[in-house]
């Protein structure tokens, strides 16, 4: 269960800078404050896939970075299975898994070494870690390449290693940031199946994507961000109803104010 409460994050905007020394000083001084995420609240239950949608620059990555504790919220907070993000970020990290399109693997380590590393960082005991690794390697069909160095693996293999890293500590809440970007059809399908299996295991899934067919297939509810603000929250049907569009792409565009809408606004 994830509860996001009026979460905000602002940055200093870098304006047009002058040349030379003046430009350098302007760079240090910083510019106007702007909100990348502004007062966003929503809730995702266990066994639910929540789609996080929005155009580029809407604040999705900033929101995910806050929820994953990489960035500290300026205002508001979030609770993961009751644990507060601000008060206890280390405990939150034990409960979450994060998977992005960037596999983020250590090329000079083998898959086994890398997963072991993350398992140890999560404080897992040796025997429990070994059992969990065997389980994941079997489920993800990784046994053939777990002892090969990551930089020698194919994209699909790398994505599997990345998934194993995300799941090694059995997180309750898993966040996916455009996980199918750059993958071929088969690899993307494997990821989508995996996301579905997470839901079936009762995990809370936050799924950020630009592909509406993936949203339609997987998401129970969606949250749409635009320019840092929450502009829609509800189910797929409610999204269609509010925008007055049957096609989800058009419904999305209408809700962010870029397309025809009968009811949006």
């Amino acid at each position: 269960m994830l509860e996001v409460e009026e979460i905000s994050k602002s940055f200093r905007e870098r304006g047009k800078k002058g040349r030379g020394l003046i430009g350098l000083l302007q760079g240090f001084r910083g510019g106007r404050e702007f909100f990348a995420v502004n007062n966003v609240s929503f809730c995702a239950k266990s066994g639910e896939i929540l789609g996080l949608l929005g155009p580029n620059g809407a604040g999705k990555t900033t929101l995910l970075r806050m929820l994953s504790t990489a960035l500290k919220p300026g205002r508001g907070t979030a609770k993961f299975m009751g644990v507060d993000l601000i008060e206890n970020p280390l405990e939150v990290r034990k409960r979450i898994g994060f998977l992005s399109d960037s596999t983020g693997l250590y090329g000079r380590l083998t898959a086994r070494e890398m997963i072991t590393y993350y398992g140890k960082l999560h404080g897992m005991e040796r025997e429990k870690l070994r059992q969990r690794m065997d389980e994941l390697f079997n489920v993800l069909e990784m046994t053939e390449f777990v002892d090969k160095r990551n930089d020698s693996l194919s994209s699909g293999m790398k994505q599997k290693v990345s998934i194993a890293r995300t799941l090694i500590h059995s997180p309750d809440i898993i966040m996916f940031d455009e996980p199918t970007t750059g993958l071929d059809v088969a690899a993307a399908e494997a990821i989508l199946n995996f996301i579905e299996s997470c839901k079936n295991q009762g995990k809370t899934v936050i799924f950020c994507t630009h592909h509406m067919h993936e949203v339609e297939r997987l998401c129970d509810n969606v949250v749409i961000l635009n320019k840092g603000n929450l502009c829609f929250q509800g189910s797929i049907e409610q999204m269609r109803a509010k925008s007055g569009q049957k096609l989800l792409d058009k419904a999305f565009l209408a809700l962010i104010g870029l397309g025809d809408s009968k009811n949006a606004g």
Partner: protein, 405 residues
């Protein structure tokens, strides 16, 4: 807390040891490349020196008949070969083209004037731009021999026949030197500046690549963000990474020393003064070596913290490399200052970071360390290193640094 730092440390060590570039900078360069280049340099210098001393010098003489004794002296010496050149202008060109090495112009009636107790000036034309040239010295030696003979004849004609009396007349007061420095101090003064220079440079060079890889490299590969999501404090991540960079710097410096040590041991065997140098080296006892090694710790720590901070700030490997390049000067300039003969360790220089370490190592090699100063240098260096490490941990906690756009 310590366990997680150790987990990060061991993982990073494993990774950098699998990286060819790190191994080149950390192991191959100090143990193979630098001793090899030094060996080539030393061999080249010895060869050049030997050649300058023994090569046959072709020369031209104008007015040879004016002083036959001089021509006889050159003719007796097989390392000189007289050639015919028509004019002084041609001689100048020949010197420039390296056909002859020098030309002499002997004034008219030189022999008669010398016999009449007059002084003559022999003009020497040679290429004085060459740093390794020994032409002037070698020609001067021959002319001096002729001059000495004339001087002896003149003194003999005055009734001063014995060479001892002649010497007493020419030099009534002489200096008899008694240097108070022992051989260790002399060796330390001449070679002692070079060793800390190598220490410092390799502390920096060995640490540089791992620092870039562990900071900007991890950012670029996208692994930093996943590491930040693990349940480990950012300060623990920094400490783990810092220890790896520190280890690389110290290892590189120690390996460079080992490499140079082996080279010197081989070279020392090739020179006759082997026993004496062996005695000097053996006079540097284990306590001195440990004190020298203790100076390496804050040096490597300072560089590791500094390089890691710069690397974390950079967005890419390339950007980090461009920042770290100029940082080399932070190591080279203070280290070079300490090599200058006019710079001695005093309380003023003891307050200058890096230079003070370099000077202290030099004093330790010489065996003339002021231990109050040693403690002050070591203490202040540790404080600076701790300050830089503290800055690095705080720097690593800044979102604007970690997620710099």
């Amino acid at each position: 807390m310590r366990a997680k730092i150790l987990i990060v440390y061991l993982k990073e060590i494993k990774e950098i040891l699998r990286d060819r570039r790190t191994l080149v900078f950390m192991v191959i360069m100090p143990t193979v490349l630098v001793p090899l280049l030094m060996n080539l340099l030393i061999s080249f210098m010895i060869k050049s020196e030997k050649k300058a001393e023994t090569e046959v010098l072709a020369f031209a003489v104008f007015g040879a008949d004016n002083l036959p004794k001089l021509s006889e002296e050159f003719a007796k010496n097989e390392n000189f070969r007289q050639v015919d050149v028509s004019s002084l202008d041609e001689a100048a060109l020949s010197i420039k083209d390296n056909i002859i090495k020098f030309a002499l112009v002997i004034p008219v009636q030189a022999q008669e004037r010398l016999e009449n107790s007059e002084q003559i000036a022999i003009e020497l034309y040679y290429d004085n731009s060459s740093a390794v040239s020994r032409v002037r010295n070698r020609v001067s030696d021959i002319i001096q021999q002729v001059s000495d003979k004339f001087r002896a004849e003149r003194l003999a004609s005055l009734g001063i026949n014995s060479s001892e009396k002649q010497e007493n007349l020419i030099s009534p007061v002489i200096i008899k030197e008694h240097g108070t420095a022992n051989m260790r101090e002399i060796l330390g003064e001449h070679a002692g500046g070079f060793l800390p220079y190598m220490f410092i440079i390799f502390c920096m060079m060995g640490a540089m690549y791992p620092a870039i890889d562990l900071g900007a490299g991890e950012k670029e590969r996208g692994t930093l963000e996943t590491l930040l999501l693990a349940p480990i404090k950012r300060s623990q991540i920094v400490l783990g990474k810092f220890l790896v960079v520190f280890t690389a710097g110290v290892t590189s410096a120690l390996l460079s020393l080992a490499g140079i040590g082996v080279l010197l041991a081989v070279k020392v065997k090739q020179i006759p003064a082997e026993v004496e140098i062996g005695q000097i080296l053996s006079s540097i006892d284990l306590a001195d070596l440990l004190l020298i090694a203790s100076m390496l710790i804050p040096t490597a720590a300072m560089f590791a913290a500094l390089l890691l901070s710069v690397s974390i700030y950079a967005r890419s490997f390339k950007e980090a490399s461009s920042y770290c390049g100029p940082l080399n000067f932070l190591a080279i300039v203070p280290a070079v200052i300490a090599v200058l003969p006019v710079v001695k360790l005093d309380w003023y220089w003891a307050m200058v970071p890096i230079t003070n370490i370099s000077l202290a190592i030099k004093e330790l090699i010489k065996g003339t360390m002021n231990y109050e100063m040693f403690i002050a240098i070591l203490g202040s260096s540790f404080i600076i290193a701790a300050g830089l490490l503290f800055f690095s941990t705080k720097w690593f906690e800044r979102e604007s640094v970690l997620f710099r756009q």
